[in-house]
Each structure stands twice: as structure tokens, then as C-alpha cells.
Symmetry: C3
Subunit: 364 residues, 3 copies
């Protein structure tokens, strides 16, 4: 139970990878919390030094959830019979006998950009070079806003959504124009990433966006670059420039979309939005984050949850969906993830050589 590293359900997950497990600030108002990650119940708390730690949430004695206990002297104490565990997962306190041989899982954890990153695989293979870094989340330069959604869908359906932004025009009428489907899209990729860039030319932005990007009623070119990194972390960088080259200004925004499997059919969605402090003020950042939240909850989540309900427990690709050119980036990402998982299962070491290629759209 507590020490099992097998995934729940039928899906295989990539294990030797970093997943967003929460925000560090979640431990500011509570001594601990648990969240199911890749089918495992994980407990987050701060150790004696105040450093976040993650261990298995089920006591090995009776499988009582440790999150019903207390944190005492940097140990997690089970609320049922009092066993205590430290950040290595070892039992260090047993009011009823020996501690030897008693342990829960310990998850390598790193904090970056205020995110609690979990390594869900072999602790001997922890690779800090794979730990995501997003320069646009450095808070001295950017206004950063954070949010969380629970999705009733497989995490890959949520990645697919961001990897094909053609949906903006239809699902988010307040955030898109017909320039979206007229856009030119380019997709590049290497072993663990897919980058897809959509250039929307000569549009007047809808009011909400015009305020964020300070474009007024000016005709602009808008570029949206999405970088997917395995397993399911995505950075969306938006750049807005006037069509009139005589003018000389650029604005933009970044958003980070981190999808962490909870089970085969549900996922955690951590998102962050950032605006450049030199260009936009805090009030604009708040408005941008609020617009994203509304779109995510009322439009993306509503649609993806409904899609997932229709699909049920099946794997979407097994149902032979009609593939369109717009699916290229999502299909590439799914294939890469599938290969990484297959290699991991087969014991093949991850290969850091990166072969970048550019493919024309329409040849998925």
C-alpha cells in the first residue's frame, strides 16, 4: 500500500519525471495536506527546518491516512496509534515497540517557482536537470498569479486542449477572433518537448485582451507559443505587436499549465499566469488571471469533463478519433510520452540527445 510504486488503474504513467504536486504556499496555512498523485496518496508537510517534504500518506500499521494525524517536531504522527515518520519515510517513533522495518514511501521533492515538484519514480534516478525552470515565473520581474482546478478527465485530454489552440475561437469567444483559424502554425519537437507556434495576423483584439495587451483598437499580430514538456507541463507565451511597423511596442503574457494525473480519469490542474512588471501593472495581472480562471472553469473544464465522460474509461486513441491537421502537436506529444513510458518500462535509460526537427502541418 504505502510503499507500492505501481500505478492505480490500467494506465501506465511516466514515473521518472517531475510532477507538480502542489503550491508551497499551501503549507503556509496548514501543517500538512494530502493529494492523490498517479494513484498514490501523498502527504505534504514541512519538516523541522520548515522544508517541504512528501511521504506516503498511509500508515503501514493499519493504513490509516496520516493526514488525520499531527506534525510534531518535524515528524508526522499517525492519529490512530501514534506512529511517527520523518521525511525519509522511516518510522522514528513507536509508542508500542520497535521502529525497525516500519516505513512509508518518501518522494524526492523540489521547490521551484513556488511549486512543489515531486519525483514519482526511482529515487536513485532523480534528475534535477529535468526539473522545469520557467524564467517568466521569476517574481522579481513578473506579476505571478496561481490557481488550481480539479479535472474529471485524463490528464492527456487536458494537455491536448492546450496543444491545439484553434479551440480558442470556438470555446472562448471572448478571447479569440477568426484570426485564430486563419493562423499559420508551426510545430517543432525533440525527445521530451513539443513546441507549437500559432501566428495570428491582423486582428483587433476583443476588449478583455485589448486591455491586458494595451492594444486598444489597433490591428495587431498575436503569437502564441506553446512548449509541452514530458510528461504534461506546458508553457504558453503570448506576444502581441502592432501590424503597423511604424509603431514600436510589444506586450505579452505567459501562462503555465501543469497537469498531474490523479487517477486514470482525473487530474490536477495547476496554472500560473505571469505579466511583465515593466509593461503591465498588478491590477492588469489580476484581471488577466480572472479572465483565465473564468475561461478554464466555465469553458475548458466544462468541455473536457464532458468529453471525458463521453469517452469513459477508454483511451481516446483506441476509439479512432478523426485526426485533423490541428491535432499534430497533441499527437506528437502523445507519441513521445508513450515512447518515454515504453522505454521506462523496458528499462531503457532516458537519452538526453536532442534531435530537433520541423514538420509541416497536416502530416500528422
Amino acid at each position: 500500500m504505502g510503499k507500492s510504486r505501481q500505478s492505480a488503474g490500467n494506465s501506465l504513467f511516466l514515473r521518472n519525471a517531475w510532477y507538480a504536486g502542489g503550491f508551497a504556499e499551501e503549507l503556509d496555512t496548514q501543517p500538512m495536506f494530502s493529494r492523490k498523485i498517479l494513484g498514490e496518496s501523498v502527504l505534504f508537510y514541512r519538516d523541522r527546518n520548515g522544508t517541504p517534504a512528501a511521504i506516503g500518506n498511509l500508515c503501514p500499521h493499519r493504513f490509516a491516512p496520516l493526514d488525520r494525524g499531527t506534525v510534531v517536531d518535524g515528524q508526522v504522527r499517525c492519529g490512530y496509534h501514534g506512529l511517527g515518520f520523518d521525511r525519509t519515510g522511516k518510522c522514528v517513533h513507536n509508542p508500542h515497540g520497535k521502529t525497525a522495518g516500519l516505513a512509508v514511501a518518501a518522494y524526492p521533492l523540489a521547490v521551484r517557482h513556488g511549486i512543489l515538484w515531486l519525483w514519482m519514480g526511482d529515487a536513485g534516478k532523480v534528475d534535477y536537470d529535468l526539473l522545469p525552470r520557467f524564467p517568466s515565473l521569476e517574481e522579481d520581474r513578473f506579476h505571478v498569479r496561481r490557481g488550481y482546478l480539479h479535472g474529471e478527465a485524463n490528464y492527456q485530454l487536458m494537455s491536448d486542449n492546450i496543444l491545439d489552440l484553434s479551440h480558442i475561437e470556438f470555446l472562448h469567444p471572448a478571447l479569440g477572433t477568426d484570426a485564430v483559424s486563419r493562423a499559420k502554425v508551426e510545430t517543432t519537437h525533440d525527445e521530451r518537448t513539443v513546441t507549437t507556434t500559432r501566428r495570428m495576423l491582423d486582428e483587433v483584439l476583443p476588449p478583455t485582451l485589448a486591455k491586458v495587451y494595451k492594444s486598444g483598437e489597433e490591428r495587431v499580430n498575436r503569437t502564441m507559443e506553446v512548449v509541452w514538456s514530458a510528461p504534461s507541463n506546458m508553457l504558453l507565451a503570448i506576444t502581441v505587436e502592432p501590424v503597423d511597423e511604424a509603431q514600436n511596442w510589444t506586450t505579452g503574457a505567459q501562462s503555465l499549465h501543469l497537469f498531474t494525473p490523479e487517477t486514470d480519469t482525473s487530474a490536477h490542474y495547476f496554472y500560473l499566469a505571469s505579466l511583465d512588471r515593466e509593461v503591465q501593472d498588478a491590477h492588469t495581472a489580476d484581471a488577466f488571471a480572472a479572465a483565465l480562471k473564468r475561461a478554464f472553469i466555465e469553458e475548458d473544464k466544462a468541455m473536457i469533463d464532458a468529453q471525458a465522460k463521453a469517452i469513459g474509461h477508454a483511451e481516446i486513441m483506441d476509439l479512432k478519433p478523426a485526426l485533423l491537421p490541428i491535432d499534430k502537436a497533441a499527437v506528437l506529444a502523445r507519441r513521445k510520452l508513450q515512447k518515454l513510458i515504453a522505454d521506462e518500462v523496458a528499462g531503457v535509460a532516458a537519452n538526453s540527445s536532442q534531435s530537433v526537427s520541423t514538420m509541416a502541418e497536416g502530416t500528422v
Copy 2:
């Protein structure tokens, strides 16, 4: 998905048959709606001519439910990526490429008596002669009232209920007397129908019914004729006459009970009540419909849902229920439906020759 014609769950359903899918008036206040029929999600909408149409509700691209989209120029447009479909199910609009090869299922649909009738089987075998016609639903001659219930039970349990009206005395005390169980019952049948007639002699009707049938405190004979048609459409015609032959009057009422499988363990219940405009006024029709609705919801549905919950996913006949003479019509109907389904699965063409026979009660 969208084009699959297999039923969900373990049950086999009769496919080459007309099922009530909704009321035409449901499209008066909304441009479209979806309903699960025989395990398939079906979308109802009006085409450019205002004619109701039914197509598969899941977009073949990403299986997004089309009912989250819009109707534009008689096409259904997916709310996720904008694909458009016409009433034949063909994709006729794709902002992202070709439409060739993209389609959802199309269901033959006919409107009669304000009911949206769906042919759930082979489109090449659509048989309009099988389309139910009920003269007592012609609105120029009858007051017609419509209603809908959702049943948490297999549709055959709901048919069984109507096919054995001996339950009125026990389940609907306001609508029955002990003349119900003293009644003489005759049952006849042919290939696709079962007719069971219950003659209840010499009773004084309870107040609610006495008003509907204008019988006051008079002793009357009441006849209830139920005609079941495969798969699960039932007409109940009630006639009331005075016992005293010196008097010369007849009143009555009709109700139609259409049970459409949603899944193996749930069903749609569309019902219609009609009273003769020459005999009863609109107010009496409202009172009759209200009494039916109360009995259906508080008594029939409550009992059948509880029965279905007790039975679970099992087929009731597999549990070897004790068969009583009162079950004769229900058992006949189940056997006929079973044979029609078996023939359909075996590819045997439906045979329109009708062999009518009359069996004595008690020889189920």
C-alpha cells in the same frame, strides 16, 4: 463512438423498431437537446426547414458532445473546434481542413402525435408501417396531455407494470377498488402485440375517477384494454358504463405509455393522456393528467425503482420469480420481444403475418 450501433451494457435491444425519443415541443424552447437512447447519446435539433432531426451527439474529432455547441444555418456546430454537421450526419463545415470522411450517425426520425420517433436500427430497413398510430391522440377530437418521467429501472420492468393492472388495487388505492382483483382478464396476441383486457364489474368508482368518468355514485362496469406493441409502447383504453342497462351513457379515457431504454438499468417514460372533447372538458383532462402524474411518480416509479434496485443488474427472469396468472400478458410480451431480438440478431426478416390467438388466464 459516434457511429457505433452496438448497444451499451449487456442487454440486447430490438434495433429495427421505432422508439419515442422526445416530444416535438421540446424543440420549441431550445435549439437542440441530447438524450441517451439504447445507450447512445442522440442529439435532437431542427434543420434549416424547421424539421426535427436526430444525429449522434459525439463529434468524431474529439468526442466532444455536440449539444455544447450551436445550431447555425441548420447545421450543428461543435463547440470545441467548430466542425459542422447536417441532418444526414455528414460533416459539412470544417474550419481546419477537409470534411470528407467525417460524420456522425444519423437516425431516421418521424414525428407523429407530437412525438419524435427514432428508428434505432438499420437505416435501410426503416419501416414506416411499424410507426405507431394512435387515433385517440388526434388533438382535434381529444384533449391530449403529455408528461415525462425518468425511471431508474430496466424498461421491461416498466412495461410489466402496465401489462398487469391488478396492481392498481394495491399500489394506487385512489384509483382502484376490490373489483380490480375480482375482474375477468382476457389476453390475445400476435407477432408484435399483446392485448390484455380487464373487465371490472359492478363497482362504485373512487371520487377522483368518478369525476373524470362522470359516474357519480352510480354502480359501473369498467373495462381496461392494454395493447402492448414491441418493443415497449402501450396504449391503455378505459371504458366506463353503468351497470344499470336502462341508462345509456359511456365515458372513458386513454393513456399512452412509451418506455424507451436509456441504459440496461434506466429508461425514459413518455406518457400521454387523452379525453374525448365531446364528453369531457379541458379542466377534467387537466385533473386526469394530474392524477396520473401523481400515481406515476409517487406510486409506480417509487415501487419500480425500488424493485429494480433490489434486482440490480440481473435480468429478472434469470432470478426465477414466482409466476402468477396475473403475469401472463407480461410474460407473453417478454417472450415476443426476446424472439424479435433473437431473430434480428440472427438476421431473420421481421414477418408481418399475424397469428392471433386467445389463451385462458392461468396458463402462462
Copy 3:
């Protein structure tokens, strides 16, 4: 259905045993009620003499729940088609034909201590010597308080909880002190019982308990004796005495914990609390029962339901929990029950010879 004696789900239950099915007083305010016991829906009602009876709750005709019907002349009448059954389960009334061959299950039922005890096994093997008797529930000598909880857990997880009272210190801070884990525990057992005695020496009771046991701020020795009887009935007797031998007083309390499987993953928890009328007044009995209720609902049930949710449908012992010395009594009880069930399945008669042994703690 109605007559099946097989258990639902995967678990085997001990059938030739008495289970608490309800309180006799539940039939004071209603003519009948049903409860699922060992996966079977059981109907409780009073016969013509006012004597409680228990029969299968599903009518053999259509499996309609009889609890939706009425009690007429000591018969249960089905609310669907009017069949009537007496306390032997035989159909004694059929408005539609013969009664021969129609029956539901009948459960041997005995009332003792206001509890409706059900024999869930072979009626030919009813053993009244096994019917539990608890002298501390005799109402002329004791204040008796009753309560009921529904547990979303396997009944054995609930027995385990009482069989290891070391949890009091951690789960019930208002009812324990560190004397709990310092306590000396002895466990004895015979074929159908396990007795575990915990002596907590030299503690000052927390305020709530000090009031119940009238110990004030006195240092006391507290003894808790738990007697488990197969399958899952437990008596907890508490004795409190002053450490100062010069004083000469004793107080105490008893509580009865009866766990009856509903399904594999849920159980009924009937509990009774009793205080000696000569020592404590009715007000103290009310306060004691209220404290128990609060602890049971907010602490025990919350923890055990969470534990059961973590375990899911698995058998806890199959998950290889870490066994501690404190688990000794619970493990013994589980083994005895497992052996009794295996013997029953194998057709071995229960053996009334009793071999009592005392084992040192720590040798589970």
C-alpha cells in the same frame, strides 16, 4: 433472491451465529422496517401477538421490497400486488391465486436486552446457548443507553478498533492519558472469545471521565476488559479504583459494541452503555452516552471510514500490514473467526469445548 442464503460480495460471513439486527424499540414507532444484514435485505415487524419477527424483504413474485407494503393482521402485505406473508415466511394471502410454493426467508429471531438478535444460518442449527447475555444490561440494576451508527467499513476493521484500545490515547485525547500506552495488557482466549485486559496505572482522569467515575483529581488505576465473542460482539467493562489503597471505592462503566456486516464494505454499529444505578445517576449516564457518541462519530468512525476507503475492497491482511504487539487480540479474533467460517463452510460442527490459554503480549 428472497430465499438465497448466500452472502453478497466476496466475503464469507459466519452464518450460524447471532447478529444484532436492530433494537426492539425501533418497532414501537413504525409497523416495520428493513435493514440489509450480511448482504440480505431483512424485514422486521411485529406479528399478531406483538412479537418481533424477521423475514426476507423481497416478494418472491416481482422482488418488490415488502417494506413498501403494509402489516395487516400480523401479515406483511406486498404493496405491489397484495401477496401476504406470515412470520414463517410462508405466503398466506394471494388475491390472484394459490399460495402454495410462495415464500420468503424466515430468520430465527430472539429479543434480549432490547436487541433483535438474528440467526443468519441454518434454521435447523439455531443455538440459543450462543445467544449473547450481558448481565450489565439488566435495566433494573443499570442505566442503559442505546445508539446506532452506520460504518462505511468492513465490520472487522470496527472490531479491530475496540480490540486494541491503545488508540484511545491518540484518537480520543479527551478520554485517554499517557497511562494508556504505559499500560500492561493481557490477552486470553477460547474457541469463540478473546478477552484482552488493559490495566492503566496511576493516572488522573481527564475531566469528562473524572465526572463519570467520580474520581475528581484523585490518582486512579483504570482497568479496561474487552471480551470479543464471535462473530463481532464486544463487551467493554471499565473499572476505576483509587491508587491510594487506604481509600475504599470502585466505580465503572460498561459498553457493548455490536458490529453487524451490512455488506463487505459497510456495517451496522449498535452500541449500548450502562452505568450501575447504585453508583451513578441517570444524568451521569446521559453524559457518558453523549461522550461515547461524540467519540464514536467524530473520532472512531471518521478514522475507520478513512482507513476503509484507503483499503478499498481488499482484505486488510492481504495487504500485509505491519503487525505490532498491540494487534495481538485483533489478530487472534480474526484467526478464530476465519477458522469458524472455514469450519462452517466445510460442514464441521461447532465445538463447545473451550481451551483457555494466556499468551504474553508481543507474540502475535
